[in-house]
């Protein structure tokens, strides 16, 4: 019961903030609303008992991505105070295509996925079970496991990607 109430509160926050993020005219406000959406998602993870995933969500998105956005917006000028310029037709078309594509993919995944608690849209979500949640020890061992279900290769691939980013950043920032 309690988790159902909290779930609907979080869902409402996520939906409203997502709508506000795309309808607001000011870009910094959009970044802030996006942050609330990401917090709501983290809240959903905590509700399901995936504390690690929730903390990663807060750390990576609140501490990383949104701070990066805000830094970039602060550094790239303040033209956005009253941004009334009309978007060109090509931009509008691209926006419509992107949103339609994203909607199609999301609907496809949602309609074909077999949800465990399949009692229609208005049924209560499953109660959180703390014991079933993956422990940090398991996650750590899977991350460096080269065996059948291990994640060593993707883990190393991501670190190569990060290294490439660092080298690229140094190349841009280097003083000649």
């Amino acid at each position: 019961m309690a988790s159902t109430i909290i779930f609907y509160c979080l869902a409402a926050i996520i939906l409203i903030c997502a709508l506000l993020a795309v309808t607001t005219k000011r870009i910094m406000r959009a970044a802030t609303y996006l942050l609330f959406v990401l917090f709501g998602t983290a809240g959903l993870y905590f509700l399901m008992g995936y504390t690690f995933l929730g903390a990663v969500q807060v750390m990576v998105y609140a501490g990383g991505v949104v701070v990066l956005y805000i830094f970039a917006l602060m550094l790239t000028g303040r033209k956005d105070v009253k941004d009334n310029e009309k978007a060109s037709i090509a931009k509008k078309m691209a926006a419509v295509c992107a949103s339609l594509g994203a909607a199609a993919i999301l609907l496809f995944v949602m309609l074909t996925h077999k949800f465990i608690n399949d009692g229609g849209l208005l049924s209560a979500p499953a109660e959180p079970t703390g014991e079933q949640a993956t422990s940090i020890t398991q996650i750590g061992q899977m991350m460096v496991d080269a065996g059948h279900n291990g994640y060593l290769l993707p883990f190393e691939a991501v670190s190569v990607l990060l290294l490439a980013c660092i080298v690229g950043g140094l190349l841009i920032a280097r003083k000649r």
Binding site: M28, T51, M59, G63, V67, I70, I136
Partner: protein
Amino acid sequence: MYNFKIVTDWFHSLLTGVMPEWLAIGIECLIVLLFIILLYATLAIVLIYMERKVCAFFQCRIGPNRVGKWGLLQVFADVFKMLTKEIIKMRQSDRLLHDLAPYFVLVASFLTFACLPWHEGVQILDFNIGVFFFIAVSGIGVVGILLAGWASRSKYPIIGAMRSGAQLVSYELSIGMTMLTMIILCGTMQLSEIVNQQAELGWNIFRGHIPAVLAFLIYMVAGNAECNRGPFDLPEAESELTAGYHTEYSGMGFGFFYLAEYLNLFICAAMAATIFFGGWAPLHIVGLDGFNAVMDYIPGFVWFFGKTFFIVFLLMWIRWTFPRLRIDQLLSLEWKYLMPISMINIVLMALVVTLGLTL
């Protein structure tokens, strides 16, 4: 030692006896919220008074001594003054974000505050990823500071916010690294487990000897920078930037930043006490059984507050002793010295733990 969990369990069963569980949990959440807010406000008042007195004594002054005995009511008077101040609205600012920004800083501070283990069984948030959650939610504060600077639409707040953002993001790395060092020693991220372990085996700073002391020193420097306190108080360097990112705030908007700053000092010190000095765990010396028995009679929260306020005093001592750094010195201190040292320290700690050299 008395485990406080008996009391909370008794209260929970009392409530669930007369009402459904979700209502009982709701009421318990409200009580916990009230408890946090009260403790938060009380500690802020104590810390502000302590800061003013300690600062005064370091500068050979007397400090507040007119309002009440030894100036004890000075902070209350300041709070009332702040509550009655006019809230200034600026034409060019983004009102929504301007009003919202202090709450980000405050929420980050509240969430980290809730992670602290006060006593055996007295802990509000206790996950199996406690330390990681602590680091993650402390990152929310940066967003608030950046938004405060941006939404004020004035040059000093923007410079202050940029400096603060760069400083907080950099020094978070050192905090994370030193905490990782201690997690290697403990083998767990759960804060209650970390303290329980230290109550049994001795404080981490003795168990981990050289790497633990190194980690503690790095943590003190980085923690001081995370709290935006001198010698790292560049974001609000009053002689250059008037007040940094909160220049344009008046009344309680400024009050919230001020409150969060002092509580962050407390949280930083309390975390140091928890992961290095054993939280509520009493001091035990191997071989002196009589001494250990006497130490066990002192309740855990007294130990916790004693250690925390000792570290708070150390941080204040540093603040009022050293002159302010320049921004490039500040960033090179982190990236060229503290980061490499803490990385080597992690390897050292891993070696110490795997070779079984812990005390």
